[in-house]
């Protein structure tokens, strides 16, 4: 599959060719050509900004239909913690989970449960890799994709641990295979997602070869079905005890949740793609001092702000806060006899071996071993990235330094010619972007309406000059004939 898969589609019939999306795109991936928006796939990081801004709803998130459940003999729902923030007056997560089973899923496995394991692993990784501080979170696929194309110097800071959804998928599959005796391909692991970026993360994963997620559904598609089913569950009173999450897991749904799970104050959490870019720029220039961890989320408010959610992200965060109030801190821990070298060595490439050298036998510390605690042995599960993310210089101009210098010089020259209004009429978001397009050979200077106007004036002046000359010639010819 194409390594630059992206999860945003265009409905050409709805696109009016306005400039809203090109202006909003943080990586300058969109142009209007022939009256329609065109996304350059390799520049797109799936942040969803164009989907949010499009007034004509022509930008569509790409995800799976609910009918994907029919493709499997046995299905497991993986609800994202942000799902729980969508409902009014919810005080028992088990109602949502029971309703999911009512929808047709055979089982549920909460992503927030796996998130607590990721928090535990991350704590260790941060502690043992001070030389790589600040460690940058990798749970948001848009952020990882952004760093991959724009911040090569920060790649070494990326947390090389699976995103909670991918760990949840592995664990859910193991559990389902054990319980049903079915083979892997008959089991469908279906993520209920707040954002389409997860679709790309599943189809073209970074850091791992293959995601165990088989399908991605939108929270907004599942939501209306759940509402009525949840009511039924509540009325019947038959609520199954399915939830495995504590405070830490649920908190992952909003900004600061992941960092909070590290139990340190020495972190920064930024959300909103423009803010994320600002933090990464400053981090690259070493303007940010000795932080242990940086949590970044492309969406405002974190995952609750995803384009596939229903509720206002700030309201959703309040709801998550309410839900986790009486929960234990964490209910998922790594079984201390199984983690570490055994599991991780197998999956690590040599360059990344150091991440595998984590621990043995410290998982117990700090957390009370009370009832309702899940101890998960991860000896067979791949929890670390198997390879590093590779820098993709997609924005590069020119094949070698000499050509690049010539191209950048030409860009500078063109920028001086252009009016600097960044009006977007040419289909590029800024004059500078048009200049780069011209240099890349995908646009013309005269796509700028101001340059075109000047050009037309010039031509019309020339034509009228020619016309006058012509008249003068005809006149003198006439005079000549009259004289004769």
């Amino acid at each position: 599959m194409d390594k630059f898969f992206n999860a945003v589609r265009l409905d050409e019939n709805l696109c009016k060719g306005c400039i809203n999306c090109i202006k909003r795109c943080p990586t300058g991936a969109i142009r209007v050509r022939n009256g329609k928006a065109v996304i350059t796939k390799k520049f797109c990081i799936d942040c969803g900004e164009c989907i949010r801004i499009c007034p004509h709803h022509a930008k569509l998130p790409f995800y799976d239909p609910i009918s994907i459940l029919d493709q499997f003999e046995y299905t497991v729902a993986l609800p994202a913690p942000s799902l729980y923030g969508q409902f009014n007056n919810l005080d028992d997560i088990n109602i949502v989970l029971t309703a999911l089973k009512g929808m047709g899923f055979d089982d549920v496995y909460e992503v927030s449960g796996a998130a607590e394991l990721v928090s535990e692993m991350s704590r260790k990784y941060v502690e043992e890799n001070e030389d790589k501080w600040p460690i940058i979170s990798t749970a948001c696929p848009s952020v990882v994709r952004l760093i991959r194309v724009r911040f090569p110097n920060l790649i070494e800071h990326l947390l090389p641990i699976l995103a909670p959804v991918d760990l949840a998928a592995s664990l859910a599959r193991e559990k389902a295979m054990k319980e049903t005796g079915l083979s892997s391909e008959k089991i469908g692991i279906i993520f209920i997602s707040p954002c389409p970026a997860k679709v790309s993360a599943v189809r073209t994963p970074l850091g791992i070869d293959k995601s165990e997620v088989d399908g991605v559904l939108a929270i907004k598609d599942v939501y209306p079905r759940l509402l009525s089913l949840m009511k039924e569950v509540e009325v019947s009173g038959e609520i199954e005890e399915l939830s495995i999450s504590g405070k830490i897991g649920i908190s992952w749904g909003g900004t600061g949740g992941e960092a909070g799970g590290l139990l340190t104050d020495n972190y920064l959490a930024a959300d909103g793609i423009e803010n994320v870019i600002r933090v990464l720029e400053d981090l690259e220039d070493q303007k940010i001092g000795m932080l242990e961890f940086i949590e970044l989320n492309a969406c405002n408010g974190g995952c609750v702000g995803g384009v596939l959610t229903v509720e206002n992200p700030f309201v959703a965060r309040v709801k998550l806060k309410r839900l986790r109030k009486y929960l234990p801190v964490a209910r998922n821990h790594i079984n201390d006899t199984n983690i570490g070298a055994g599991g991780s060595k197998k999956v690590l490439s040599p360059e990344n071996q150091d991440v595998g050298k984590t621990n043995k036998g410290e998982a117990n510390q700090g957390m009370a071993n009370s009832n309702g605690i899940n101890r998960t042995g991860l000896d067979k599960t791949n929890v670390y990235w198997t390879h590093k993310v590779k820098y993709e210089p997609v924005f590069k101009l020119g094949m070698d330094m000499k050509e690049s210098i010539a191209m950048i010089s030409k860009v500078e020259e063109l920028c001086k010619e252009f009016p600097g209004l960044d009006c977007g009429s040419c289909g590029a978001p800024t004059c500078k972007a048009l200049a780069e397009d011209v240099v890349r050979g995908v646009a013309s200077e005269k796509d700028c309406i101001h340059i075109l106007r000047q050009y037309i004036h010039k031509i019309s002046d020339e034509i009228s000059m020619l016309d006058n000359q012509n008249k003068a010639i005809t006149y003198s010819n006439k005079e000549d004939t009259e004289k004769e």
């Binding site: 724009r150 110097n153 720029e281 220039d285 210089p393 070698d400």
Partner: protein, 140 residues
């Protein structure tokens, strides 16, 4: 066709919100040119330190960045007060920044040392009352 490019930037005085604009522009251009990430990082950090110095100490100034296939030169020129004792100024932790600047988190005395650390060659010419010219080079 010339095989180098000259970029000129004006650095305004006492405007911390704008300090760093020049270095981030250079950074983004170098990335687009496919310059190795480590080199981009060196140039960006060295130049940002220089830019901040001009804002704090020298009432602004101008920066010429010359990019060629073999090296990147940064020439930072100001009409500020000049550096009294260059050797001292080069010592880590030595600073003449006033308290109001320090309270902003600047003036730790690492400006010139960092500029030296992140560039491959550095030259300072300074005259009291006239100004300072710093030339830094990073080789590709």
């Amino acid at each position: 066709m010339s095989d180098k490019i000259v970029l000129t930037y004006q650095v305004s005085a006492d405007d911390f919100t704008r300090a760093g604009e020049a270095s981030s522009d250079v950074k983004s251009k170098l990335k687009k040119m496919g310059v190795k990430p480590e080199i981009v990082r060196k140039v960006a950090i060295a130049m940002y330190e220089g830019e901040i110095n001009m804002v704090i100490h020298a009432n602004g100034g101008s920066i010429d960045v010359i990019i060629s296939p073999t090296e990147i030169s940064m020439i930072l020129e100001d009409k500020g007060p000049g550096i009294e004792d260059i050797e001292k100024a080069m010592q880590a932790g030595y600073s003449t920044a006033p308290d109001n600047i320090r309270s902003l988190g600047f003036g730790a005395g690492m400006g010139l040392p960092n500029m030296k650390k992140y560039s491959d060659e550095m030259q300072i010419e300074s005259e009291i009352g006239t100004g300072t010219k710093v030339t830094m080079k990073v080789f590709l």
